[in-house]
Symmetry: C2
DNA sequence: CAGTATCCGAAAGGATACTG
DNA sequence: CAGTATCCTTTCGGATACTG
């Protein structure tokens, strides 16, 4: 280690928080956190809210987020079963920071689009 | 559209800012933005800083970020060639918000780890 | 309703060799 | 040095069928 090393361990190959971050920022993770930031939902409610997710991926995503302590799963032992998902306090804090990033990227999407056009114009005609 | 729709267009399937967000939060995108947040670097300097990245992935990542207007590429027509990469003002603003999220996740990694252990304990012994 | 299990095609990503 | 091109393995993720 010397002074040129990055200050963030998350940039190391096998960092555990790298895995958590991937759960949070991944396609379905971000979508699910965003949905749950709006309230508490049942499995199939979430499926309808999270546009395009399959049962398999939603299940997988919820398990990962629950295991990380970001989502709480509440199963009533009724028949038919009823399971509610909601953010934990930690999950809410993380979702807020994620949404800050998402909001910002979205608010600057015009600039991004312009940059893409001038980039493509400069090299598209190669 | 009704009131149950998500407030964030980024959650729609084919949203353009979803693509930008993936460039930013993806494994190599986040690493590269984090590295460039520390300064200006040449291609092989970045390769050494971004732990584990291949030439192919670094090249691909830099192209995507440059096209989105987050990274500026400066090539001197010398021999041997010298190319410097740095964040644009927009890239810097995005990197800051990304690092806020990363820092927070990292600072709570202990909580995450504990949650994982109790989760595994509850189901690991099934 | 709330999932799990399996199969399979698509896409990401690494190693290596090569170019200007 | 700064990449590109190719090959090949691994992972992601959708469709479908099935279970408690």
């Amino acid at each position: 280690m010397d002074s040129t090393d990055l200050a963030y361990d998350v940039f190391a190959k096998q960092c555990p928080s790298r895995t958590t971050l991937e759960h949070v920022t991944g396609r379905w993770g971000a979508l699910t956190l965003g949905a749950l930031h709006e309230g508490t939902f049942r499995f199939n409610e979430l499926r309808r809210r999270v546009d395009g997710v399959s049962e398999k991926m939603l299940s997988q995503t919820l398990h990962a987020l629950e295991r990380d302590g970001l989502v709480r799963r509440d199963a009533q032992p009724t028949n038919p079963p009823r399971v509610d998902y909601q953010l934990t306090p930690l999950g809410r804090e993380i979702a807020e920071r994620l949404l800050t990033l998402i909001d910002f990227v979205q608010s600057r999407q015009d600039d991004v689009h312009k940059a893409q056009e001038s980039y493509d114009e400069a090299r598209g005609g190669r």
